[in-house]
């Protein structure tokens, strides 16, 4: 064979240094014409079963399907001290090759197996669960890509993506299910992006995409639209269907920030906006976002002080028993009177308090104050207090209720805790256990805002609520809307079949009152039968025993 002939020729050459054949580094010696004339044992092992002697390097690499070796000689022609060239063999092994000129004529190629080194380095930069880039790789790529974009005067878009409702899946169904879901989410990222885009998992349910080399902001907008759509589609996993969503904040280099920190901050603010706007959407950074965040920070500072500065107080709204037209109780409503801001709406500060984990102390204050004040009223009517879903997480509820009842001396039968469906969304077993214990103390548990949540009926089955509060959206204008009448009637029928009473919320006109009475509601609450009032006014109202329900209705 041709190679054997060549081998004989090679053997006739001056002997190689004795150590060469046994060196761990693969050594290939080429003649002036760049044909291989010698390989040591390590090099032979690399290319087995192919015999490299006599071949050129391109022929050798082609015959064993190795990639990346074409440029080996380019480096030698350019420099005396060439950088290694990365060669990928067909079996995924990676070699670093360097070609040097031999003073005796010809060339020597050394090949080092760097497979494990590279793999480890890659692993340190890849998220092992999803195979996406990790935060470390993302950060170095951000810096590198910004540098290149600056040189080439191109735009880059950074998309920050947070999954909506993912924590619920993880908390209720376990990490394994959560991990499997994350892997599917990563797949959808890959299907929505181009190879040049860098997709990273920054941790938990946070992702980021760096979009380079395309027109901005148009391409970022279409990618964000696709991601919101794709990630928000249902997932079938282990026999279950999962619905999560994506909130996305987009910042574009250079307009939204020239440095990595600046562009990260802009994307973060935009993401914050997307979440505040109801999630499941994307928002581009706008300079005004900075100001809004500033405003929120100031509000946070004020809210932290509100309790200590005694700026919080309670207002009480009457609940009227329809059978007797008498006041059956009051709902305690929190008010924040700030010296400069004026009255801050609970709709504004309660969600903030929940996010800041202030809801625990604020909730306990409400409970304590309501019980104490109600205990001094002239008649033993009920007192309803709202519980935030997050209070179940942050405070030992049963202990707080027990202690408050003991301290205030309030008859447990007068206390009514109102919870929303939100409280039953996650970690339900623990919440139900808490509620049951509270109920065992003699306290009534009501379901608030009924009809506005996800699957109200299933919650009715989960817990023996004493009362259902029918959301005002079904009550408002009920006299002019047959559908609402039918819905309220259905709720009261259902409630009475389950042994629960009903309170219609938001009754504002005599006509609405007539309708909810006809629909079979037990109690009403609303501006018609009494606006929220101070504790003194509530106490006086009870002392005078005045009710307006019957009177208002007879006016028409």
């Amino acid at each position: 064979m041709f190679s054997e002939v060549l081998n004989q020729v090679i053997r006739a050459f001056p002997p190689r240094p004795a150590a060469l054949p046994e060196m761990a580094t693969a050594v290939v010696i080429l003649d002036e014409d760049r044909h291989i004339e010698y390989v040591n044992t390590s090099a032979e092992a690399l290319f087995t079963p192919i015999d490299p002697v006599g071949a050129t390097l391109p022929d050798l690499f082609e015959s064993c399907s190795a990639e990346g070796g074409d440029d080996l000689f380019a480096s030698i022609d350019a420099s005396d001290n060439p950088a290694p060239t990365r060669i990928r063999l067909s079996d995924e092994r990676l070699l670093d090759g360097v070609v040097r000129k031999l003073s005796s004529g010809g060339f020597v190629l050394t090949l080092d197996d760097v497979t494990s080194y590279v793999r480890e380095a890659e692993l340190g930069l890849r998220d092992t669960l999803t195979g996406l880039a990790n935060r470390k790789l993302f950060t170095t790529q951000l810096i590198e890509r910004l540098r290149r974009a600056r040189e080439s005067k191109q735009a880059i878009a950074l998309l920050y993506v947070d999954l909506d409702r993912f924590k619920g899946v993880n908390d209720t169904l376990g990490h394994q299910m959560g991990d499997a879901l994350l892997a599917k989410v990563a797949d959808r990222f890959r299907s929505a992006t181009r190879d040049d885009d860098l997709v990273a998992r920054l941790g938990g349910d946070e992702f980021a995409v760096l979009q380079t080399g395309v027109e901005q902001p148009a391409c970022a907008e279409s990618l964000a639209t696709r991601l919101v759509d794709l990630i928000g589609r249902a997932y079938a996993l282990n026999g279950h269907m999962f619905h999560i969503g994506a909130s996305i904040g987009v910042a574009v280099f250079p307009s939204d920030g020239a440095e990595p920190e600046a562009i990260l901050k802009s994307a973060d603010l935009a993401l914050y906006r997307a979440k505040a706007d109801g999630r499941g959407c994307y928002r581009f950074f706008e300079p005004a976002m900075d100001e809004r965040i500033q405003a929120r920070r100031l509000l946070e500072i004020d809210l932290r002080r509100a309790l200590a500065l005694k700026q919080l107080h309670l207002a009480y709204q009457p609940q009227v028993e329809l059978e007797t037209n008498q006041i059956a109780g009051f709902e305690a409503l929190i008010r924040w009177q700030h010296p400069e801001r004026g009255v801050v709406s609970p709709a504004e500060f309660i969600p903030l308090a929940e996010e800041m984990e202030l809801i625990g102390p604020i909730g306990e204050w409400v409970l304590r104050t309501a019980c104490k004040e109600a205990a001094s009223w002239p008649r033993p009517v009920s007192i309803a207090v709202n519980l935030s879903p997050l209070q179940f997480k942050t405070t030992p509820l049963v202990e707080a209720v027990r202690k408050t009842l003991a301290l205030s001396g309030l008859d447990p039968g007068r206390l009514e805790l109102e919870i929303t469906e939100g409280a039953l969304l996650y970690d339900t077993a623990a919440v139900l256990r808490d509620l049951e214990e509270v109920q065992n103390l003699g306290v009534q548990i009501s379901l608030d805002d009924f009809g506005t949540g996800y699957s109200s009926l299933s919650y009715l089955q989960k817990f023996p609520f004493g009362k259902i509060k029918i959301d005002q959206s079904f009550v408002r204008g009920i006299d002019r809307d047959g559908q609402r009448q039918a819905i309220v009637r259905a709720i009261t029928d259902l409630a009475s079949a389950l042994g629960m009473t009903t309170t219609a919320e938001g009754v504002e006109t005599p006509q609405e009152l007539t309708c909810v009475r006809a629909a079979g509601c037990t109690k009403v609450q609303g501006y018609l039968t009494g606006r929220p009032m101070s504790v003194e006014a509530a106490s006086n109202l009870l002392a005078n025993d005045v009710t307006k329900a019957g009177a208002e209705e007879s006016v028409r």
Binding site: K184, D187, R188, S191, R226, D229, L230, R233, A234, Y235, A236, L237, N238, G239, M241
Partner: protein, 146 residues
Amino acid sequence: MNNGLHRLVYYSRNRVGQDPQTLSAAIKSILSASRRNNAQVDVTGALMFNSGCFAQVLEGGRAAVESVFERVQQDERHGDVAVLAFEPVKTRSFDKWSMGFVGASPDDIARYDTLAEASGFDPARMTGEALFQTLHSLALEEEGKQ
């Protein structure tokens, strides 16, 4: 974990557009891809297009149905995917079809679509069971023709 026979029923909105040629080409490509992929993992089912909606039944082993459905979800030729049923079943109902196309043929879709609308068939208003039954009876009709 139960990897037994499962059935998934969904409908979704057409995003290909209304142009008859584009639509019929898209449906043909969806069909040929699903026939190829489904046969590999032993998933059977039927697809129909009506009133601007795709309706599809997938049946097979749980993991196989889930992976086929994941590919469906990543397809941007449709959107607003609503899953009406995903549950274990005892038997296959489309065992002869890697992916049957039922109702009007892809070429006739554009022409007949308005007719179908007039007939009142709207997958968006159906339960999973009703949609499944519709596709199944259309599939039986189709088999009768062959």
